[in-house]
């Protein structure tokens, strides 16, 4: 499989990835380990919360979006890591049984000033449920090796 490099990420729509089915068990397991708030763990308490029912942790949803990006394209890209996330908006709750789709758009692609052998691709990713409702929007830059230098990103 060819490695995707900076040149493969021009601004514009990149693609839609998934579906990724999310089970109640994984929502509970993530919440127990990282975000044990009642709205993510306890059905009765969750009903009384603003989210009106059991919902997954926002950090769980972001982590699932990361996995969908890796499975969708990042796993075969000359990814060099990311300096951070500009913005995450949690728009609607992640529910047990949701089948997520991830829309990926390249907002900006530029050469790194400090590392000219590296590109910085800023993605806007939107996770949607099966009804098309947006659950989370994320804007995040990722460093991607340039063509001809992809070998460095692959460690040889």
């Amino acid at each position: 499989m060819t490695t995707l490099t900076f040149e493969d990420f021009p601004p514009g729509r990149f693609g839609t990835f998934g579906p990724r089915h999310v089970t109640r068990e994984e929502i509970l397991a993530f919440a127990a380990e990282f975000d044990p708030q009642p709205m993510h763990l306890d059905e009765e308490a969750a009903k009384k919360s603003l989210l009106k029912g059991l919902s997954g942790s926002g950090w769980h949803l972001c982590s699932i979006m990361m996995r969908m990006m890796v499975d969708g394209f990042m796993g075969r890209a000359a990814s060099l890591g990311s300096p951070g996330v500009n913005e995450v908006r949690w728009l609607a709750p992640l529910r047990p049984g949701d089948d997520l789709l991830l829309d990926v758009e390249v907002m900006e692609a530029r050469i790194s000033r400090s590392r000219p052998e590296t590109g910085i691709v800023t993605f806007k990713t939107t996770a949607r449920n099966a009804t098309g409702q947006a659950l989370c929007e994320m804007v995040s830059p990722i460093m991607v090796g340039r063509r001809g230098d992809a070998g460095a990103g692959q460690g040889g």
């Binding site: 380990e33 975000d35 919360s49 989210l51 990361m66 796993g75 300096p83 996330v85 949690w90």
Partner: protein, 160 residues
């Protein structure tokens, strides 16, 4: 847990620390971020990170873990004093998340949270909006993680 009126800009909480072992780094990465530098020591050494590095989402999730533990400890203390415990709302999101330096296997990261901005909600007058800068610092005292998080916090006397 505090109500909006109990919080002030500049309030800082030390949230405790977490050691990222190779085992926990790989366990998270296998599930959520299976990139080679998060899964394998040798690949990590050859990468920009210079060693087996924790997924940034792992670092953020651990920060959340310690925030929740701190919040629940305060709530328990408040309840023990006979005070009304405020139930915080869900977060609408965050901004300016920075993975400033890699978190490598064996690193112990101390997390803290500092209130940076507070305002009342126009659309939901029973809620206040609190922004906090949550940070992680490694055992060498280097800032490795920072995020500007937002939370809905109930106002006192505004009902449950």
């Amino acid at each position: 847990m505090n109500f909006f009126e109990d919080i002030e800009v500049g309030q800082r909480s030390e949230l405790g620390s977490f050691t990222f072992t190779a085992e926990t780094i790989k366990k998270f990465a296998v599930q959520f971020d299976p990139q080679r530098f998060h899964l394998d020591e040798e690949e990590g050494r050859k990468s920009l990170f210079g060693g087996l590095a924790a997924s940034g989402w792992h670092v953020g999730s651990v920060c959340m873990k310690l925030l929740v533990a701190d919040t629940q400890r305060r709530a328990k203390e408040a309840a023990a004093r006979g005070e009304t415990v405020a139930a915080w709302g869900p977060s609408p999101g965050f901004r300016e998340l920075r993975w400033i330096m890699p978190v490598l296997a064996g690193d112990t990261i101390s997390f803290a949270s500092e209130v940076v901005e507070m305002r009342t909600s126009d659309s939901r007058p029973q809620w206040g909006i609190v922004q906090a800068r949550n940070t992680g610092t490694n055992q060498q005292g280097e800032l490795v993680f920072s995020v500007l998080a937002t939370a809905f916090v109930p106002r006192r006397g505004a009902g449950p």
